[in-house]
């Protein structure tokens, strides 16, 4: 009773307490109307724990010092401390990101299915592999996903492609990367439920109250991501993101207009009191047609319209419409035994990109058959192989990393022969006739080779490159490969047939050997 009557005092206490322990929570929602009438949305929930350090792996033998969090998600923090993880990225995506029509995503991790990668420091007490196993099991329980099956048959260490996005503390030991993908993983409400429980305001107030699973999982593409990184001089940052691509034309009758109510079936009723900043950004489309945005209380900057959710009048429903438009009119291979990738460079300059292919052992490359064609001409000088770790069947996947040079305004076709081995019949999944999903290939554009330093993943490119807006990573679509499936009913048939034969043969032979025909005199019937 006492607390209910003094809720304001309690909230004030909470806010000042949060500032004192230096944790910050920011939430943002970005809308970007796409050229084909769809709408790309991105929720970002960032919690920064100032002054914190990742756990030094050399202290894994001792008891950890106690951690006190107010806003930082405790469940995730405990997992990170337990396995001394410096950087962690987990994405759960469904659908295929159409780079041609949708451009580059704001969050680069758009590979279909589950993708988990982590940078961990080496430790003599517990090996990185052991901690990787514990980490993926803990995360599979936390997020209700089958991440526990990312065992050594699916784990690789592609350090060239997945550079750390934060800083790695200097402890005197090297950091190692572990990466695994499950392209056939489904994403549904049970993955969103624990995601929302990591937020300080849960899904009750603020921007997170818009996360309606019935609408989110109806989107043409959706994916949730958990990114943890250590920023030097700042602390540990956890960024929870949810990206999706909606189709307002499908919901309405042929119009591109959208609003929070029409997209999410919800509006924002209360703002999250713990958030330091809570804003919604809408990108103004770069076209000639007029666009109307309501409500009017926004600021404009650099092609974006900003709404401050904390100050806006509630309930807040943002909408964008094209009043002059009547109706909006709308505008991907696998060859047998050969893997092909085609990459198109639309830019007028040469681009170098690192190409990563990590293939499960059930598809083995014939590297000698690798062929590169650029606009129909064979150009072997355009590829330089950095590393190739061949697969070991039933043990280890293939890791193939190369640098490709893409000439300006051209298409590069890369292909090589593959063989599909036989699996043991216990290794087939229960729905074996569906086939196996292959993880996507990852391309990381690097700077032009004229610059003396090839630094992949540079977050601040030198002057002259800002307007190019190179993405950090691009993913190809996942493929489905058919492997030869055995006749699973064969053991049953063999047993039945051989038992029948044995019964018949044994019966016949036994009769032949032991049956004796004797004549019996039947006495005549008495008259």
């Amino acid at each position: 009773m006492f607390w209910r009557n003094n809720i304001l005092a309690v909230l004030l206490l909470c806010c000042t307490w949060c500032l004192a322990t230096s944790e910050e929570f920011h939430e943002a929602l970005t809308f970007r109307p796409l050229q084909d009438g769809r709408l790309a949305t991105r929720f970002t929930f960032t919690t920064l724990l100032r002054g914190a350090y990742p756990r030094d792996p050399s202290t894994l033998q001792e008891e950890d010092e106690s951690q006190h969090y107010a806003i930082f998600p405790l469940a995730l923090g405990q997992v990170l401390r337990e396995y001394a993880v410096t950087e962690l990225h987990l994405t759960l995506n469904a659908g295929k990101w159409d780079y041609d029509h949708w451009g580059y995503p704001d969050e680069p991790g758009v590979g279909t299915g589950a993708e988990l990668w982590a940078w961990m420091g080496e430790s003599a007490a517990r090996s990185v592999d052991e901690r990787w196993k514990g980490l993926r099991n803990a995360l599979s329980g936390q997020f209700c996903a089958s991440l526990g099956s990312l065992d050594e048959q699916r784990t690789t260490s592609p350090e060239l492609t997945f550079r750390p996005e934060g800083s790695l503390p200097q402890w005197g030991t090297t950091h190692q990367l572990r990466h695994g993908t499950l392209p056939s993983e489904h994403v549904c409400t049970e993955n969103l439920t624990p995601f929302l429980k990591l937020l300080p305001c849960k899904s009750l107030t603020g921007i997170a109250s818009l996360l309606n699973p019935h609408r989110l999982f109806d989107a043409d593409w959706h994916g949730l991501g958990v990114h943890v990184r250590y920023l030097e001089n700042e602390g540990i940052e956890v960024r929870l993101s949810f990206q999706s691509v909606f189709d307002p034309v499908r919901y309405s009758n042929g119009r591109r207009d959208w609003s929070l109510r029409s997209v999410f079936d919800r509006v924002i009723d209360r703002s999250c009191p713990i958030a330091h900043s809570s804003e919604i950004r809408v990108a103004i489309p770069k076209e000639e047609t007029a666009v109307a945005i309501t409500p009017d209380s926004y600021t404009t900057h650099a092609g974006f319209v900003y709404f401050n959710v904390s100050n806006a009048s509630k309930p807040l429903d943002i909408s964008m419409s094209w009043p002059d438009e009547q109706k909006f009119e709308y505008g991907s291979s696998q060859s047998r035994g050969r893997l092909s990738v085609s990459i198109t460079n639309h830019m007028p300059i040469t681009i170098q990109t690192s190409y990563l292919e990590s293939m499960p052992w059930l598809l083995q490359f014939y590297l000698h058959s690798l062929q590169i064609y650029s606009n129909g001409v064979s150009r072997d000088d355009l590829i330089s192989i950095v590393s190739y770790i061949p697969s070991v069947p039933h043990v280890r996947p293939t890791l193939f990393q190369a640098i490709l040079t893409l000439p300006p305004k051209s298409t590069l076709h890369l292909s090589m022969d593959v063989i599909k081995p036989f699996l043991r019949y216990t290794e087939h999944p229960p729905d074996a006739q569906r086939g196996w999903d292959l993880p996507p290939a990852v391309l990381v554009p690097l700077l032009h080779s004229n610059s003396s330093t090839l630094d992949p993943g540079l977050s601040n490119p030198p002057s002259g490159f800002e307007q190019l807006r190179l993405p950090r990573r691009m993913y190809t679509p996942v493929l489905l490969v058919d492997l030869a499936t055995p006749d699973f009913s064969m053991p049953y048939n063999v047993i039945i047939m051989s038992c029948t034969l044995i019964a018949l043969i044994f019966g016949m032979v036994f009769n032949l050997l032991t049956r004796k025909f004797t004549l019996i005199r039947v006495s005549p019937e008495p008259k």
């Binding site: 469904a94 599979s140 409400t189 439920t193 699973p213």
Partner: protein, 392 residues
């Protein structure tokens, strides 16, 4: 030498006998607490549920709906997500064939969405295997398996095990790939009994020839029910024209209809539930096996297995919650020091265990909001994936 040993053994046995005959005062206190309100005669203190849908593929939508219907019932009656192990072999709600994304319905009228906004599936997809099911029951798992995937029962837990899928004479198919037999389940239950992992088990199964699955049990305190006899099929209840498949099975549908009339404080008994069985409605002979169950069915409450109701007492003097210097002392010896929080006598404790029928959508979040305002109750938020203390 031998005489000394014999004498020692004799003294030991006499000592044990003497101590065993006098029940300690603490045991008497505990027993009288559990029998104080003339409530259920069961000796359990916590409830767990293991709900298994073992069929994959879109056309087995009704098996997923069966398991989710039981999940919703069990959550509504008070068992929290941390005490429920839900195993769904395929993804129906977000299946690309599902016309209603994120929703699973158990009736053609589509009046109730079983998936909701707040669901946790512990084992899904390829993880639903016979091996994982038996590991869950027996508790023999790799140390890295997280808490939410473990059945952490003790000898005072009542466990509700529900299985649905395609089955036959003494077997149940898992994902159209492998089978579990009645002997396997019986042995798993016996392991649980030996390790004191349950107080009572209620086993319910909805498949074809389901009654054969419980015919092999031999451990005590198991009550079992199945949907059809040997050589009989269990039938589905109704089809949905928009989804194009059957959405629920007859046995589970009628049980869920009955359970909608049961709430957390209900005094309905298991005999009332079994009186619902009717050949005309099920088109099959549903059976009950109660010879291993020591209590009479008309005194066994439904909430003993389906609900998470626990006994609570309102203490009349206010309770001191300060971290006292001597932690192991009796409550009466703790001095009433100046505290930041004192429990208000007028606080209505029964409102914490309110019968909220919307358990799957927002009750936990509502409770959490209330907790954020009252810091003195000492609820532990550190469990992953859900909150404890019986709210969800």
């Amino acid at each position: 030498m031998k005489a000394v040993l014999f004498l020692f053994a004799l003294v030991c046995t006499l000592w044990q006998c003497v101590h065993a005959q006098i029940p300690s005062e603490q045991e008497q206190h505990v027993t009288s607490f559990f029998n104080s309100h003339g409530g259920s005669t069961s000796r359990h203190t916590n409830n767990w549920a293991v709900l298994v849908c073992s069929s994959r593929y879109w056309f087995n939508y009704r098996h997923m709906a069966n398991a989710l219907g039981m999940y919703r019932t069990v959550k509504r009656l008070g068992i929290p997500d941390s005490n429920i192990i839900l195993m769904l072999a395929d993804d129906t709600a977000c299946n690309s064939r599902n016309k209603f994304p994120g929703c699973v319905y158990a009736s053609a009228a589509r009046d109730l969405d079983l998936y909701g906004d707040n669901i946790e599936v512990d084992y899904r997809g390829y993880e639903v295997t016979v091996e994982n099911f038996i590991r869950v029951l027996t508790g023999r798992m790799d140390p890295s398996v997280p808490r939410s995937k473990r059945l952490l029962t003790d000898d005072r837990s009542n466990v509700f095990v529900y299985m649905t899928g395609h089955g036959g004479n003494e077997f149940l198919k898992f994902q159209d790939n492998e089978e579990i037999s009645a002997f396997d389940i019986a042995d798993a239950f016996e392991q649980m009994w030996q390790k004191k992992r349950y107080n009572e088990i209620f086993f319910m199964i909805d498949t074809c020839q389901a009654n054969t699955m419980y015919s092999k049990f031999y451990s005590p305190n198991i009550l079992a029910t199945g949907s059809s006899e040997l050589d009989e099929n269990s039938y589905s209840h109704e089809n949905d024209r928009d989804l194009g498949i059957s959405v629920i099975d007859r046995f589970t549908h009628h049980i869920l209809r009955f359970m909608e009339g049961v709430n957390k404080t209900s005094q309905a008994t298991m005999q009332d539930l079994f009186n619902v069985y009717d050949y005309e409605k099920f088109m099959s002979h549903a059976g009950v096996r109660s010879d291993l169950f020591r209590r009479p069915l008309d005194q066994t409450y439904i909430t003993d297995f389906f609900g998470g109701v626990s006994q609570a007492e309102v203490m009349s003097p206010p309770l001191s919650l300060s971290p006292s210097s001597n932690e192991g002392s009796e409550p009466e010896n703790v001095p009433e020091s100046e505290l930041p929080v004192e429990l208000d006598q007028s606080l209505d404790f029964t409102s914490w265990i309110s019968s909220d029928t919307n358990a799957t959508s927002g009750a936990c979040t509502k409770a959490r909001r209330e907790h954020a305002e009252c810091q003195g109750v000492g609820v532990d938020w550190t469990s992953s994936c859900s909150c404890r203390m019986g709210w969800e």
